[in-house]
Each structure stands twice: as structure tokens, then as C-alpha cells.
Amino acid sequence: MSEESPVSQPANSTRTIAIGTIARVEGEGALRVTVKQGAVHDVELKIFEPPRFFEAFLQGRHYEEVPDIVARICGICPVAYQMSAVHAIERIFGLRVEGPLRDLRRLLYCGEWIESHALHVYLLHAPDFLGYESGIAMAKDHAAAVTRGLRIKKAGNALMTLLGGRSVHPVSVKVGGFSRVPSRRELEGLRDELLWARDAAIDTIRWVASFSYPDFVPDYTFVALRHDREYPFNEGRIVSSNGLDITADEFERHCEEQQVPYSTALHCRLHGAPYQVGPLARVNLNHDRLPPAVMEVWADVGLSLPLRNPFQGIVARSVEMLYALEEALRLIDLYEPPPVSSLPVTVKAGVGMACTEAPRGILYHRYRIDQHGVIREAKIVPPTSQNQGRIEEDLRLFLPRLLTESDDVIALACEKVIRCYDPCISCATHFLKLELQRDL
């Protein structure tokens, strides 16, 4: 959605059109599209990444401070940042969190997926398919649907509040476990609302599967975690649709971050090429890890795999929302409080890496810690910087069909393509300026 009307500013032989601010995208950034001789010449997505600030900020901090600090990087996915951090640090200390504590971490991650996916599906993405400029405009005609989405989101929030202390920035995750663990009764108190949300998630899948999608099926390289038995949250090997199969320790050998001249952000490429992470990648690479109850709904709406249309990311996100609710209910039913809320930690010097599945895709952390438990180096590769090159490539592929259209039609189409990725561009403010430049 453009907040302002397009304003043309002729200048010499080219025309620069400032299109305004893109809404319904998490973060801040800018998009510049250059069209020459009737063809898309260049697409540059500029973003400003807070992880760069935090990488420096973490240096010199004690490892115990890390979960609380990294939770501040993103208001939408604080759990993901905490999980990648504690797993990487636990690797250094030779600590393995198992049993109910591991289950609680999965449960917390369920809360974040439910919350993040419900927001994107209902308020940020659905308006694109139903022809509304915003979630508010959509709510006027679809109040019941929006209310349903907000209530699903709240069910996710409730999990995050209970397990994380605060819903937006969980504070009780720590290296070795949690600062406290819930009672059975506390978890059971969430059950009824989660049951309601599970049924609502089934309705959500049916709803989004009925949308019309543009005919657009790029040849993607999907990358996601893959675990022996589970749909991935915290653990698994990093696999791709092209046969990559590595541990998190090997991530930086295969996925290289490159500086691009027009952005402060780094673009991450797999063997030099763009790739996609997130719900679509996860569903395609892990559909055999989804429980039968989820696959039945999938089959019921008549979707076939692989799902390669980025606009159908809304379907993948809805399927994952149902999965997270099923998994949360399963974990609550199994739960027996552990005897201790966290395992004893023995500080060791070393380097540790971990990747977990943030709502938007794999989130890589690497830490170097000294013998006193002080962070000497931190490296964070968020999902959006991995998807950034792929978003640009999608825009290059999608735009040619639109070049005869007006600037505002092109702008809206660009925004819709970008929104498929639910990009969390900055995690603090929300300005994405779009600039279209074309030859006269």
C-alpha cells in the first residue's frame, strides 16, 4: 500500500518516481527499480539491519546477558533470537537440553509462530488478495475474519507470556533452560483457547486456499532445517531443495554474506546464488514431518506439492499456524514439570554456532566466548538478509508483465511481491520507501 500518491519528477533523460512508504512490511528500508529500454534493468532492495548493531553491542557482554539482549533485536520474533543464541552458547559449553525443558522451548517457539503467522496472514497479507489497501479497510467488511485472526494471535501471545515472562520480549529463557518453568495447571489453563485456535486455524487454511493467486512459479532453491522426526524449530540439519545437507557449523562455508553497494545490509547467498527461507521452504522440505491431522486439511483444500508460488506463502504460513497449535496442544498434554528449571552450566572458552527456524526462516548465530564467559565475537544472519536476494530476483521476474502499467500499479505489485516474504527488515521502525526510475 502506498501512503502517498505517486509524484513524478522529470530529470534529464530519466524519470524518477517517488512512490512513498510501503506499509504492512516489518521494518525499514527502500526499494529502487530501474527500467531501461522497456526492460527491468535493476532492482535494489535497501535495508538497514539492527543485527549489525547488536553484533558489536554483544562484544564484551557476559553470556548470561545474551538472551535478554538479542530478544530486543526483533519485536515480532524475540524467541527465535533467544533460541539461536542459547543453542549456540550451549554448544560451546557442551550442554544439551533434553526432555521437558526441550519440550518447553518447542512450546515457546509454537507461541511465536502462532503469533507472527496470525499477524501476517490476517492483517498484513490477506488484504492483498481481497483487494483492500490495509487490514483496517479489510476489517470493515471482514470483521469476523480479522477478529478471528487477532484471537488466534492472542492464543500465541498467551503461550509466550507464560513461558517467556513477557509476550513481546520474553525474558525467562536462559542458557541451560529457563529461569522458571510453568506448572501443569498453568499450561492446562491455556488449553481451551488453543483448542479454539486450532479449529480457527483450519478455517484459516480453507479461507486462504480460496484466494486467487497470480500465476508466478519461479524456480526456487529452498533452504530449511530438517530433523529426524520433527517439523523443525530448534534443531536439525540445514538442507536445501538442491541437495545441500550440512550442520550449522558449516553454514558460513556455504552461505556467504556479500556487501552490496546500495545497502548497509549484507546479502547472503548459497554458493553464490539467491535462495529462499521461511514457511514455503519449510513446508516443501518438511511436509513429511507434518502430522496426519495437518496433512488431511492440506489434502482437503486440494493443494499439491511442491508449492512454489510465493503468493501461496500465505497458505504455507496458515498450515504452519495449524501445526504450531497441534504441537502446542500435544506438548501441553505430555508435560510433566522438570525437577530443575535449568541445567548447571560450566563455562568454557570456544566458538559455537546454531540455526533455528524463526517464523521467517532460518536464523544463524555464531559466538566466540572466552574462559570467563564473555562474548568476544558475535555473528547473526537473520532470515530477511537471506531472502533479500531472492526478493530482488522475484521482482525482476515479476515486473516485466507490468511494465506497460502505471507507476502506482507497478508500485503496488512490488509491494505485494515483497510482502509474500513477510520481511522483517529492521525490527524497529516501519519505513520502506519505493523509488521507480525509468527512461522516458
Partner: protein, 181 residues
């Protein structure tokens, strides 16, 4: 819509008819912001100080990047006093007092602190869905610096002090109204 854009040295003391009968559950103060983005933390800092100052006079909530959760945070309150950082081009430290109860607030006044769905959008969403409290007052503090970092600039620090004083007065007066009505 009522909008006041005031320099913090020109704060009015008479909040008059904005007082409502209240108790702790009916008046809720919500401070929004990101405490790692400099002046963006203004609302959070103000809420923190109000909690100490007002005590049981009102519920006080600090919310980092609340987004649509703001609707849940407002649920059940009669009066909500919302404090957030704003950026509209006015001098840093300028205090805006907006009454969102009567109509949409200007989008260019809000708000740097939430993302995806901002404060203005969330309030309009609440209005559309019939979920707004009877009265929603927004205190917007004009920012100077919102780069990464944990401290407030001096004009914003001063403005926070004025907002805390004014909201304290507003809550106290509403309690007076409550006790005499």
C-alpha cells in the same frame, strides 16, 4: 479530534473536563517504545516513572513494539493514556496531546515505536472492531535521535518529565472527580 502541539515549557495545568470517574482498573497508562532506539524509548521511560509516582492510582504498562497487542492491552479500561515517541517535524521535545476517542489521529504524528501495524492503525482497527475504550488520549513526544542506543536526548528527557507531571495531575484529578461524584 483534538490536537495540541505544545512546547514542553508551555504546558497547561488545566486538564478540566478530561477527568473521568476512575479507579485503578478504569484508568490505564500504556508507555510504548523500543528502549534500544534512543528517544524512541520516551513512552517506556515515562511509564516507568509514572508507575513509581502514581502507585495504585492507575494500571501502568510498559510495552515494547506492541503492534496489534495494544488492543489487548487496552481491553477492559475505561480511559487509556498512551505515551509514545512521534516524529512529525516539530522541534524535539514538543509534546502532542491527541484525543483518539473522537476520530482518527494524524498518521504522520505516529509513531516510531511499533512496526508492521502502528499505533494509529491499531487504534483505527480497534475503532472498526468496536474495541476502543471510552476514552483514548495519546501523549506523543517529538523525538530527536532514534539511532541504536539506550539513552534519551536532553529535550526528550525534559519532555518526559513534563508528560509524567501532566499525566500524574490528570490521574489525580480523575480520582478527585471519582471521590466527589
Amino acid at each position: 479530534m483534538m490536537t495540541e502541539a505544545l512546547r514542553n515549557d508551555a504546558m497547561p495545568h488545566d486538564v478540566g473536563s478530561s477527568c473521568r470517574p476512575s479507579d485503578r482498573t478504569s484508568v490505564r497508562i500504556i508507555g510504548l517504545g523500543n528502549e534500544w532506539r534512543g528517544d524512541d524509548a520516551a513512552g517506556l521511560v515515562a511509564a516507568r516513572r509514572l508507575r513509581e509516582k502514581i502507585g495504585k492510582g492507575a494500571q501502568v504498562i510498559e510495552a515494547q513494539q506492541a503492534g496489534t497487542d495494544l488492543l489487548d492491552l487496552m481491553d477492559g479500561a475505561l480511559v487509556v493514556l498512551l505515551i509514545d515517541a512521534v516524529s512529525s517535524g516539530k522541534p524535539p521535545g514538543t509534546i502532542h496531546r491527541l484525543d483518539a476517542s473522537t476520530g482518527p489521529i494524524a498518521r504522520n504524528l505516529t509513531c516510531r515505536s511499533t512496526h508492521g501495524v502502528g499505533v494509529a492503525e491499531t487504534i483505527e482497527l480497534g475503532r472498526t472492531l468496536g474495541r476502543l475504550p471510552e476514552r483514548v488520549i495519546i501523549y506523543g513526544i517529538e523525538v530527536a535521535e532514534t539511532g541504536w542506543g539506550p539513552s534519551l536526548s536532553q529535550p526528550v528527557e525534559e519532555a518526559v518529565g513534563h508528560v509524567v507531571a501532566r499525566i500524574t495531575q490528570e490521574v489525580e484529578e480523575s480520582q478527585c472527580t471519582s471521590s466527589t461524584s
